[in-house]
């Protein structure tokens, strides 16, 4: 991440020294966020999220499986993410890259650890059958900050998720019940990156390329941290981390207001 993009990085830092970013935003300013619900009729829940011109789709399919033997009365959740070569000339076709796996896992942890989904409520027959919430994130246009866009999209899609009919051991996907997936918490990830001595949120692609380090902080509506992920090649001090948590918590509070 360092060196290869030296001159661009110097330029970004020069701007930040004067309190500016290339696109005119302040360091702690998000691009406009748009959430569109129910973008795919065959999904049990879905949403499109745009953060500036970054765009992702999130969709939920419900499946029925045998519960894990160590949690016989609980359902489960799976999160997948694909960094589609459709969305960025640098993404390659093929099995998920480590970046895609990290993205999916960070989103997964925020939802799982906040206990937003009542896993016991997904149990159909103890030890035999349970619902599995399968959430997939697909990138449409990557102009930076896919993690936050994906986390927002994941939550938005889950809020719209309706159970299909389940009868005689079979799912009838065409028959939707009126039953919604209940969510008790609102986890929102906000990623803060460090460039030089500056901390900024909602990075663009060029800012991501120039970053020294990154911290994704997922908080719930009470301000409790439910997931953390440090990225980037450089270390972060305790002081920096705590400042980043403050920034992320404050932004997450604003973002939470956007959910319909």
């Amino acid at each position: 991440m360092n060196g290869s993009n030296g001159s661009q990085k110097d330029e970004i830092i020069k701007f930040l020294d004067r309190g500016m970013r290339f696109d005119g935003r302040k360091a702690d300013e998000f691009r406009p966020i748009e959430i569109e619900y129910d973008i795919s009729k065959n999904a049990e829940g879905s949403a499109r999220v745009k953060v500036g011109s970054t765009e992702i789709l999130a969709g939920v399919k419900m499946e029925v499986m045998a519960p894990y033997p160590d949690q016989p009365n609980q359902g489960t959740m799976m999160v997948g993410a694909e960094l589609l070569p459709f969305s960025n000339p640098e993404f390659e076709a093929g099995p998920p890259s480590i970046q895609a796996i990290e993205l999916a896992r960070v989103v997964d942890r925020g939802i799982r650890e906040s206990k937003a989904i009542d896993m016991a409520g997904l149990c159909i027959a103890e030890g035999e059958k349970c619902w599995v919430v399968v959430l997939d994130i697909m990138t449409i246009n990557d102009e930076g900050n896919l993690i936050d866009a994906s986390g927002i999209g994941a939550y938005a899609a889950l809020t719209r998720t309706v159970f299909p009919k389940y009868e005689d051991g079979k799912i009838d996907y065409k028959a939707k019940t009126g039953k919604r997936l209940e969510l008790s918490r609102v986890p929102v990830p906000v990623t803060v990156i460090k460039i030089g001595r500056h901390l900024i949120i909602d990075p663009t692609t060029e800012e991501e390329k120039a970053m020294d380090s990154r911290l994704t902080v997922t908080t719930d509506e009470k301000g409790i941290i439910v997931a953390l992920q440090k990225g980037g090649d450089q270390p972060l001090s305790q002081e920096e981390i705590l400042t980043m948590v403050d920034l992320a918590t404050a932004k997450a509070k604003e973002i939470r207001k956007l959910f319909a």
Partner: protein, 235 residues
């Protein structure tokens, strides 16, 4: 048994409502959306760009690569596992063949033009919708093309030829043939032809005739999408 009335009440040669938009992915060199009924296809074009690994390069001309992908939540049944299954690979290949005849890639030796087709929602006819979107996206990328490529799924249901088969018709359990066709609207030549089911030679001719009418309508919407984008850009 006769099929007198289509399940959704359409006329036998009537398409579902369809629309197109050019320029939906900013990072791509060209892109488009094509929606017909509840089937939505996005296409993004990257290139011509350098092709690696090098042994894939053709020094005489650029190559075209298509990737067709149904999103995991896009189908009417179970979740579709990510990664190209055999069906997706075959559709990618026939999509390539459907688009290649209108392109002149001789100016781009050793290069590749990548076409990525993504389907967020499907209700039959997805390969045809993908081809329609891809054709707009290739033009949006500024590649020189002899003609648009327009595509439509024709069906034979009992003794009727129907235009733009939806999922319910595709799943019809009586006498049914599903015939996706891609065509160069100007010449009426076919660049994609597949068929599942049973079909007489006479009905094949009827199906091709029906496709000719449909692609003329589709081509106009594809052209308009491009015009709208470029007129919008100038404003």
């Amino acid at each position: 048994m006769a099929y007198e009335q289509r399940f959704d009440g359409r006329g036998m040669t009537e398409l579902r409502p369809f629309k197109a938009k050019a320029g939906i992915v900013r990072r791509a060199d060209g892109s488009a959306m094509f929606q017909i009924g509840d089937t939505v296809a996005y296409a993004a074009v990257y290139g011509p760009r350098d092709l690696f690994p090098r042994f894939l390069q053709d020094p005489s001309r650029g190559i075209l690569r298509c990737h067709y992908n149904m999103m995991p939540f896009s189908g009417s049944g179970e979740r579709i596992r990510p990664g190209q299954n055999r069906r997706a690979k075959e559709i990618s290949m026939v999509t390539e063949k459907a688009l290649l005849p209108v392109l002149d890639l001789s100016e781009y030796p050793n290069a590749v033009v990548d076409v990525f087709i993504e389907l967020p929602q499907t209700d039959a006819g997805s390969r045809c919708a993908g081809i329609c979107a891809a054709s707009i996206a290739l033009a949006d990328a500024g590649l020189s093309m002899k003609d648009m490529v327009s595509a439509i799924a024709i069906g034979r249901i009992e003794d009727k030829i129907v235009v733009d088969v939806n999922k319910k018709e595709e799943d019809y359990e009586g006498g049914m043939a599903d015939i996706p066709i891609a065509m160069l609207p100007r010449t009426g030549e076919l660049t994609l032809l597949q068929m599942d089911g049973e079909l007489s030679k006479k009905d094949l001719a009827r199906a091709i005739e029906a496709a000719k009418g449909a692609v003329k309508e589709i081509k106009e919407v594809q052209r308009q999408a491009l015009k709208d984008k470029y007129e919008g850009d100038r404003k």
